[in-house]
Subunit: 403 residues, 2 copies
């Protein structure tokens, strides 16, 4: 890690553009230009014409659940959503799963691979209480200068199904969660109006943004989405509501879907997708055309739900590209956008980008074009987080992260 106050990256190509030098002062990008002079005492890093990306953005993961780096978990879980929910709660209770240690292990690997902003859901339920939240808040605090972590207080076991959860969510927001989470108001809670009224009630009282998991299919999902949009409009929550998954948008007749997308765009409701290849997914290009911000995320990584996922957001961009059959170079730019600019916009991460004044979160890779970076997922030659060099060649530098 460099403690010098300034850093000059020489000869790098921002998103594939012509080579420039980039000057970083403190935690900010100070200037970009050709043949910038190095201030006295400045650390100079030769980029060698490498491709420069802004720090990558993970829009939807579950740091608190991961078994990353642990012994292999043999998955023998049933196929229904509720099987997975109940199995996980029981497993974590029995194993005393350590959300602090596990979230830190995974967040560090995200950082080593260039992810400098990350939104994570954290389970809040009447069995674990706020234990997982406390663990992930510790990780957020450990990494605060390097990786911006947004915590969503998430009622994974349902909001109404287990009485006392609403109060816990309220406590979670008071305790320091950043975003309030919701989950399938029909399919899980069984009482969509009361569920959403309760959820939006907390959001209104706490003045916090919302991120709602909506797995519900077709017409049921559309029904819930309408209820969500009604409430977002009534409370004036423009730009403060996100829908995770939104599978129903991949299953509705085009006309009905487009009316929903138009409402979402008007309320600036973002859509967060892991682009799962085995499900119907919201149509990426149609959503963007309608003006809806679409961003990408892993969802869970190596947990009791699923063995898949990785802290490599270029891999997620590739999977998004494959899911939507993006083959042309101009289309692969969109795949990257889902884990960079659109990610930051949809989550509300400020000072994001490669312009002077933006926070200096930077990734260098050996690639000729953005498209190549997405499909080849090359080693991260250099990762700069908050102005400091924290990783080289996919490995965190010693002492990059506070002990």
């Amino acid at each position: 890690m460099s403690f010098s106050d300034s850093l000059l990256l020489r000869n790098v190509r921002p998103l594939g553009a012509a080579p420039v030098d980039l000057l970083v002062t403190g935690d900010r990008i100070a200037a970009a230009g050709v043949a910038l002079p190095a201030p006295a005492g400045c650390v100079v890093e030769e980029g060698g014409g490498a491709l420069l990306l802004p720090g990558l953005v993970e829009g939807h993961t579950h740091l608190d659940k991961t078994l990353w780096g642990m012994d292999w978990y043999r998955n023998e879980v049933g196929t229904r959503l509720i099987d997975k929910i109940d199995n996980e709660r029981a497993f974590r209770e029995a194993s005393r799963h350590d959300a602090a240690a596990q979230s830190l292990a995974l967040a560090k690997d995200f950082l080593a691979l260039g992810t400098t902003r990350l939104r994570t859901h954290v389970d809040v339920d009447t069995q674990a209480g706020l234990r997982h939240l406390d663990g992930v808040m510790r990780t957020r605090s450990t990494l605060e200068d390097l990786q911006q972590i947004q915590i969503v207080a998430f009622p994974q076991s349902g909001l109404l199904r287990r009485p006392g959860t609403a109060e816990l969510l309220d406590d979670a927001m008071a305790r320091g969660a950043d975003v309030l989470g919701g989950l399938d108001p029909c399919a899980i809670d069984g009482d969509p109006v009361r569920s959403l009224d309760t959820l939006f009630g907390i959001a209104e009282r706490r003045g916090c943004p919302l991120d709602i998991h909506l797995h519900e299919p077709g017409p049921m999902g559309a029904f819930s989405l309408e209820l969500i949009l009604d409430r977002a409009a009534a409370l004036g929550m423009h730009g403060r509501v996100a829908i995770s998954h939104g599978f129903c948008l991949g299953e509705l007749p085009e006309r009905e879907r487009d009316l929903l997308l138009a409402r979402m765009a008007k309320l600036d409701v973002a859509l967060i997708t892991s682009a799962p290849p085995s499900r119907n997914v919201p149509p990426l290009l149609a959503c963007r055309q309608a003006g809806v911000t679409v961003l990408g995320g892993n969802d869970g990584i190596r947990d009791t739900w699923s063995p898949y996922g990785s802290p490599d957001m270029l891999e997620r961009a590739m999977l998004i590209g494959m899911r939507y059959n993006l083959r042309r170079d101009d289309e692969l730019d969109i795949a990257l956008d889902c884990v960079t600019h659109a990610g930051a916009r949809g989550c509300g991460f400020a000072s994001y980008g490669l312009a002077a004044g933006d926070r200096a979160d930077l990734v260098l890779v050996q690639a000729q074009t953005v498209a190549q970076a997405v499909v080849a997922r090359p080693q991260r030659r250099l990762v700069v987080a908050g102005g400091r060099i924290v990783a080289r060649d996919n490995v965190l530098l010693p002492h990059a992260v506070p002990a």
Copy 2:
């Protein structure tokens, strides 16, 4: 590369089973057992409890088309199948694309990552003639002791659309191609009966197996598939016909699909899939249950068609797992099967496996279970091909491959 005649792998776990030693003599597995004695002069390799996999199998790729390792190709191609076909033929002619050099570069990377058997389609058309075939035959010959390459003579530009192609395919079989390829008899050739009669006529005359790309959707694909199965039955081609893609099987009503699957199983017609996330795909588990062998492949890798794909067949197994939502450990065994045993069976690669007498094609990875090997795609610690150590840690040893 080891030139010793015998090799003892100590302490390895075949597909996750209890640790054994594995003795290799010449190009064969001689014995597997606990605490095997090392013959005099035997090279001993300590496995350290690593997971042992049989050499991986690529069931469908296009070595002749790849731009692997070349300057980035900016894809600005249209979206129709025929756009891609015409664009590629023109590009290769203009660039004098070198199928020999390119196929060798990619095949070597396949080998370094543990793929020891590989089926590749090679374009045969009236513009390039047999030029691409000659190139890939050179690669097949260069690697013959290490990697078994099956060449499919493939009429990428259609069999009937460009007169003279049938004669070229016939020449290709005489020249040394292993398998005769076909392509969408309705959608591309526009005359399914004449197209398939011509194709099966060559197969009958040459006594060669068939591998037919069938992209045609729903009822059109089912129609073509019936015509194919009729001819396979009439000519007694049991176990000698494979269908690549077969997207229609993912789009038909269950009853109709199951009748087709039953016919395929009866004729032992294999199904080869790249499990594309953006298309309807044949249902893996239903196919297996019906008795149809399903195997996996990349399809093209980094070519003018698509920027995706990689010579890592564990990654392909992961993508198959994700496409079919295989999450349980017992399901991930199936994903691996698609790039190992089912792959070898479907392509007809002989002496495949981890038993005494099988060809010694072996891969060691640091993983606790098969499921972990699929989702984590760990480095190939050791690759043995035809009894020789050819790669360590994803890198070919110097002189492993003849110059």
